[in-house]
């Protein structure tokens, strides 16, 4: 009679050799073929079921099932294709649910290679799963196929597991050879045993043993490559395929196979990869990759869009496009980092609804202080040696980023490494940047965003792209001449006859961070591609005010990213030639009580946009990529001149058009109950494709406002400012502001004379035409609001109720209570002018589509 803690393998003879299995054991069988494992499983399970144990079968491989569901045997069908994180998470969930003292049988782990293609991640899987099973006092069976994995992988598995047993056949007899049996020792335990009848006989005789082992060595002969991960193996195969004049079909299959491992599994994207990328391209990516797994959306978008341009035979992109110099850190490095530092359990806890925010803070802290596995560190080192003292940028490249249908713009960060310190310090800075990006996945912003979008259950897959910063050294300041963001579809058409399809740019001098991030009080140049000279501004004063005043650059002396006043930059870099991108504004008065006026540069980019090939090149670039993507795209770029004086555009990034929020599916609008439609218009809005929930409506009553005294009209403006500060919040209380005429006019008779700071927390702004005097909406946002609204992403629409083809139903509003006196008791006197409706219980939704130009706002 065995002890309770002893568990039988179901084969008496084996039990006696290894002195039984113990509860807590993870048992790995190394086999030549799956049938040998099947046999061991059936001994074990039959015995277990007979003694009333509960067996769980984890079914995920391609081989035939090892067990069928019956009494005391439960089968879980698992999905491997969704990757390491979700597979491991599924299993973790099952183990947690099933609890203690359960017996487990897993399909062959070698099968995971089909989907994951890397030994490293199988070891990582093992690394996180086994200790947990041990903790729960279970017995679990695993199998790996011999000669399939790298030596390192086997060593890793041996390290973790409690029991590792080799099984092979020798002269058609079954041979069992325990390699590791933790905590047990018996005389002949680690000898090979040959099955004679039903008993296992140890091969102790040295002659027999020598013969046996030399036989085994022969079998392993061609295994020099097993020093490599399976991953490298795959690419070596691909390389030889390329060198061997294989037929195109075969090569195409290889492209597909590798793309699914490195680039994407999205069908739409895979289709584009097939069209534009070759096996050489994939091999080149591999050369520049550190670690295994995906290179992420940002890297993919950059590579793919460049390939698309190079296929454009009618334009000399070779001459115009600056080459990129990038490395990619594969998404598996992120997981390895978590697993190898022992944080996986915490990471799993974070994946539960209760732990989602709670554990994130702890993880974020930990992510900043972990250690990278030695091989990864070596590759980092080599890469940094390659870049030398060139500034580099480390950018997140999550798989969720830049994908079709999900908008993850700017949720994760980029970090500059100016690279001016000694090598040790440079390495440290770089590693810090990588850790910062990993920690960024746990930032509250990213978490809230993911949850809001229903992505919190999805894999993070955080890869990283490392790029040489495009630009040059200007007396200690390093920056590209120009940089910006381009949209192939202009969501801010501010002028009649302007073609939204022509696209737009947000252009800045210096690093593109100023164009990508929206910065308060500083403005990039907005360029409508069909009419690059026109600005949504009138007069030099406004042009000066709504222009770029600061330049982002890398300060080489201070080894840091710096934001410098343009004025100061011009003073400290006298050689800087701004004549093509700026004009001298002599009307600026001096400060400090007058004094001599001093002309200042105002960045307008006018000459550059109209007198160089830049605008045409950008137009073509946007259109070419758009048609390949089959929809609007958004790009990031820099511009420099080469020694020959030609413009060099560096395409840094490309993704399907990002919207304020998740892309609206407007086809649904037909299904909306017409009675619930509040506003429906065509055209007359700006802000792109949106799907905006609104929980609060601030309504300035057009009729009452028209009849109000001048003083009350100003009071309305100040009250809106108060409400803007008190209740409007794009995150917690998205607010729609509606009123007659033009918001922000200086003439109260034409609309509410607010300042922009009085509406800057508003989510959406609507202007209503009202037939009293000049209260007509101004689609062009007055002269000053345009830039502020685009910079803060406030959605804008103009309603002309007199137009017959629109819907504007306001009757339901009169049934709602006005919350004004509760929020601002002092302002009750204005209650007939300003109404505040709480819509938490019947939220409004604003949807728009820039292609069909349809906007609909309805009650849920």
């Amino acid at each position: 009679m065995a002890y309770y803690s002893h568990v039988s393998t179901g084969w008496e003879s084996l039990d006696s050799i290894i002195d039984y299995l113990y509860r807590g054991d993870n048992v790995v069988w190394q086999v030549d073929e799956i049938d040998a494992y099947r046999k061991m499983v059936s001994y074990f399970v039959n015995n277990a079921v007979a003694t009333g144990e509960q067996v769980i079968y984890m079914r995920f491989a391609r081989h035939a099932p090892l067990l069928a569901q019956r009494r005391n045997i439960r089968v879980y069908d698992l999905d491997v294709s969704s990757g390491f994180e979700s597979f491991t998470t599924q299993i973790h969930g099952i183990i947690t649910r099933e609890g203690r003292d359960i017996f487990y049988v897993f399909d062959s782990l070698s099968d995971l290679l089909y989907e994951w293609a890397t030994d490293l991640m199988i070891v990582n899987f093992f690394f996180v799963t086994c200790p947990y099973l041990f903790e729960l006092n279970t017995v679990a069976y695993f199998a790996i196929l011999r000669n399939r994995h790298s030596f390192k992988a086997i060593a890793g598995i041996r390290e973790i597991t409690q029991v590792l047993i080799d099984i092979y056949s020798y002269r058609r007899k079954l041979c069992v050879h325990p390699i590791k049996v933790q905590g047990r020792y018996a005389g002949t335990m680690f000898f090979p045993h040959i099955k004679e009848q039903s008993a296992l006989v140890p091969v102790i005789n040295s002659v027999e043993a020598t013969r046996l082992f030399s036989h085994l060595m022969r079998e392993k002969a061609e295994n020099a490559q097993r020093n490599l991960d399976y991953w490298d193996h795959l690419f070596l195969q691909a390389r030889s395929l390329l060198d061997s004049d294989a037929n195109p079909m075969e090569i195409e299959d290889k492209v597909e196979q590798l793309s699914r491992l490195v680039l994407s599994r999205d069908r739409k994207i895979l289709g584009m990869i097939r069209r534009f990328m070759s096996l050489e391209d994939l091999l080149f990516i591999k050369e520049r990759s550190i670690g295994t797994g995906f290179i992420g959306g940002k890297a993919l978008g950059m590579l793919l869009s460049r390939k698309i341009l190079h296929r454009d035979a009618d334009y000399d992109w070779q001459r115009t496009l600056e080459h990129h110099d990038s490395f990619y850190i594969g998404s598996d490095v992120f997981y390895s980092y978590i697993v190898q530092n022992g944080w996986w359990k915490l990471f799993m806890a974070h994946k539960t609804p209760e732990g989602y925010f709670e554990t994130a803070g702890e993880l974020k802290e930990k992510f900043l202080s972990g250690t990278f596995p030695e091989p990864v560190r070596e590759r980092f080192q080599l890469m940094l040696e390659y870049f030398g003292q060139s500034p580099i940028i480390v950018r997140s490249s999550s798989l969720l980023e830049d994908a079709f249908g999900s908008a993850f713009a700017g949720r994760y960060d980029s970090f500059f490494c100016v690279n001016q310190a000694p090598p040790g310090k440079r390495y440290e800075n770089f590693e810090d940047a990588v850790k910062q990006i990993f920690a960024g996945t746990m930032s509250e912003d990213a978490l809230a965003y993911r949850r809001q979008r229903g992505l919190d259950r999805m894999d993070e897959q955080m890869a990283i792209m490392v790029q040489r910063v495009s630009g040059s050294d200007h007396q200690g300041y390093f920056f590209p001449e120009l940089a910006g963001v381009g949209l192939s579809h202009n969501p801010y058409v501010w002028k009649k006859n302007m073609d939204p399809g022509a696209g737009m740019l947000r252009l800045v001098m210096g690093l593109g961070t100023r164009a990508v991030n929206r910065v308060e009080n500083d403005y990039p140049r907005i360029v409508a591609m069909d009419d690059p000279r026109v600005k949504p501004l009138a007069g030099m004063r406004d042009i000066r005010k709504y222009s770029q005043h600061y330049v982002d650059c890398l300060d080489l002396a201070e080894n840091a990213l710096k934001t410098v006043l343009l004025r100061e930059l011009v003073e400290s870099v006298p050689d800087l030639d701004l004549s093509a991108i700026a004009v001298q504004d002599s009307s600026v008065e001096g400060f400090g009580g007058g004094g001599a006026s001093k002309a200042q540069w105002v960045l307008t980019f006018d000459d550059f946009l109209t007198r160089t090939p830049f605008t045409d090149a950008m137009k073509r670039m946007l259109k070419t990529i758009e048609s390949a993507y089959g929809g609007p795209v958004e790009i990031e770029f820099t511009v420099n001149h080469n020694s020959a004086g030609d413009i060099q555009i560096n395409l840094l990034q490309c993704r399907p058009f990002q919207t304020l929020y998740k892309t609206a599916d407007l086809s649904l609008s037909d299904k909306i109950d017409p009675k619930k439609v509040f506003v429906r218009i065509e055209g007359n809005f700006m802000g792109g494709n949106v799907l905006l929930p609104v929980t609060c409506l601030i309504w300035v009553d057009p009729a009452n406002y028209a009849g109000a005294s001048l003083s009350n009209k100003y009071s309305v403006a100040r009250l809106i400012g108060k409400l803007n500060r008190k209740i409007a919040d794009p995150k917690t209380n998205p607010t729609l502001l509606m009123g007659p005429g033009r918001w922000g006019t200086q003439t109260p008779a034409m609309g509410v004379p607010v300042k922009f700071s009085e509406i800057n927390h508003i989510t959406a702004l609507m202007e209503i035409s009202y037939q009293a005097g000049s209260m007509v909406p101004d689609l062009s946002f007055g002269t000053h609001f345009f830039h502020d609204l685009t910079e803060t992403s406030v959605f804008y629409a103009a309603i002309y109720p007199e137009n017959e083809d629109i819907v504007f139903q306001t009757r339901w509003l009169s049934k709602l209570p006005n919350m004004l006196s509760e929020i601002c008791p002092d302002e009750e006197a204005l209650a007939h002018l300003v109404k505040v409706y709480n819509l938490r219980d019947q939220a409004l939704v604003i949807r728009s589509d820039i292609v069909t130009q349809e906007l609909i706002c309805y009650r849920k």
Binding site: W494, K495, N521, D522, R533, V534, K535, P536, L537, A538, G539, M540, R541, H549, L565, R567, S586, S587, E589, F591, G592, G593, G594, S597, D606, A706, L710, S711, Y714, S715, A717, R718, R725, R742, T745, Q746, T747, A749, M750, P753, K755, S757, E758, A772, G773, S774, V776, D778, S780, T783, D826
Partner: protein, 451 residues
């Protein structure tokens, strides 16, 4: 029915579609009720009926061609409202909202603004429904030339002197003046708001802020007081507020506050010349937030509240208040708090910063209250000075302009004071500002006979 109400009713009936104009007439005439009661001769001479009718309205076609060769036709306006005391004077506005009602409304208000400066300037306004936004430089130039091709025959240094307004800045004034000069073959002062190089005036941005402080000084002197060692609260952070602070420092006062749209800072130690230079660099140069001042000089900073709210909640003692931010920034509650905290004088650098309730409280407690109409007339006045410089073919120094500004503010103050006293409301600057400008125009009109 009084003549005032008859006149208002008449506008409503005759120009029913001109809503903005009607509103302006109503608001202005209602404040003039006392003048009609006291001066039957004005009623008899039909001054009220005449003053609401422009001397002349010119509406003209402005055809121009865009860069693509397409022809557009805009509508140009010049309303010459009243030239009883000097040539018509008032801005040109290029904005799509421009129509006859708006231009008449602005021109009507301009008569009284100009008259109040005590300079010889009549009232007018003009412009076009042209939208300069989104137009190229060349298009702007062509439009300005087409506009002047008609306007030139209606304006002149002795007739009508337009200035800039919304959509008409230094660039547009330059194009307009350039074309006028060409077709008239004369370099005369027909426009104001020009760049310094070709006839503009110094200290234009400073004028409003300086003027407000000069006006307050005059008010204080009626009670034998001055700025010396007084604690002064200033709101706003723009040109007006900055230069008001500068002048307060020069006058020996202690400005303690300033605010922008995000926060208020209260520096009990006082804002001195050095700190002011920092504010100017911060707001004009770096476009930063005022809260940075609090960090640099370690003083109190109140997020999301304006100066007057802060004073009310913190019970800060101030002697003088200069609201220089925006309309209706100071409400009844704020006014009560100011009075309670010992404030003796309020001069408005902004337009209508005090609500009607606040004004009532100031008057009730006999606070020296200078309404914006009068206290911030310095800006309009320097425009007049530019006109004078042009006609004298002279260019005054900053100091000379500042000196003249002081004289103008003194004279505005005096005319307000006199006008109020004439109606038995001694020291009521609201009454004074409302009637002084009008009375000046009305007397002149009376003298000219029925023209």
């Amino acid at each position: 029915m009084s003549i005032i109400h008859d006149t208002i009713a008449r506008v409503k009936q005759r120009d029913s579609e001109q809503i903005e104009f009607y509103q302006a007439v109503t608001e202005v005439l209602e404040t003039l009720e006392p003048t009609a009661r006291r001066h039957p001769e004005l009623v008899k001479a039909g001054i009220y009926e005449r003053i609401i009718e422009p001397e002349r309205v010119v509406i003209f076609r402005v055809p121009w061609m865009d860069d693509g060769g397409n022809v557009y036709v805009n509508r140009g306006f010049r309303v010459q409202f009243n030239n009883a005391i000097g040539p018509f004077k008032g801005g040109l506005r290029f904005h799509p909202s421009v129509n006859l009602s708006i231009i008449k409304f602005l021109g009507f208000e301009q008569i009284f603004k100009n008259a109040l400066t005590t300079l010889p300037m009549g009232g007018g306004k003009g412009g076009s429904d042209f939208d300069p936004k989104g137009k190229s430089d060349a298009e702007i130039m062509r439009f300005c030339q087409a506009f002047m091709a008609e306007l030139f025959r209606h304006v002149g240094p002795e007739t009508d002197v337009p200035a800039g307004d919304i959509g008409v800045g230094g660039r547009e004034i330059g194009y307009l003046f350039g074309y006028y000069k060409k077709i008239r073959n004369s370099h005369s002062g027909v426009l104001t708001g020009k760049g310094l190089e070709y006839g503009g005036s110094l200290i234009r941005p400073e004028a409003t802020g300086y003027g407000t402080v000069y006006f307050a000084t005059e008010m204080l002197s009626t009670r034998g007081q001055d700025f010396k060692d007084k604690t002064v609260a200033v709101s706003g952070a723009g040109n007006v507020a900055q230069y008001a602070v500068e002048k307060v420092i020069q006058m020996g006062g202690k400005p303690i506050s300033i605010c922008d749209s995000n926060a208020t800072i209260v520096d009990e130690a006082g804002i001195d010349v050095e700190k002011l230079a920092y504010i100017m660099e911060l707001k004009n140069g770096r476009r930063g937030r005022i809260s940075e001042y609090a960090e640099k000089y370690d003083c109190a900073c109140y997020e999301g509240e304006n100066v007057w709210e802060v004073i009310r909640k913190q019970g800060i003692k101030v002697d003088i208040a200069l609201p220089c931010a925006t309309q209706n920034e100071l409400n009844g509650g704020n006014a009560e708090a100011l009075v309670k905290n010992g404030c003796i004088c309020v001069a408005e650098g902004a337009n209508m910063p005090s609500t009607p309730e606040a004004v009532k409280i100031f008057q009730e407690y006999n606070i020296l209250y200078g309404p914006g109409k009068a206290a911030n007339a310095g800006g309009v006045a320097t425009s007049g000075l530019e006109m004078s410089q042009n006609s004298l073919k002279m260019s005054w120094t900053r100091e000379e302009v500042d000196q003249r500004l002081l004289i103008i503010m003194k004279s505005i103050h005096k005319s307000c004071l006199d006008a109020a006293e004439a109606y038995g409301k001694k020291g009521d600057y609201v009454m004074g500002a409302n009637t002084a400008g009008f009375m000046k125009v009305a007397r002149a009109m009376l003298a000219y006979g029925i023209v």
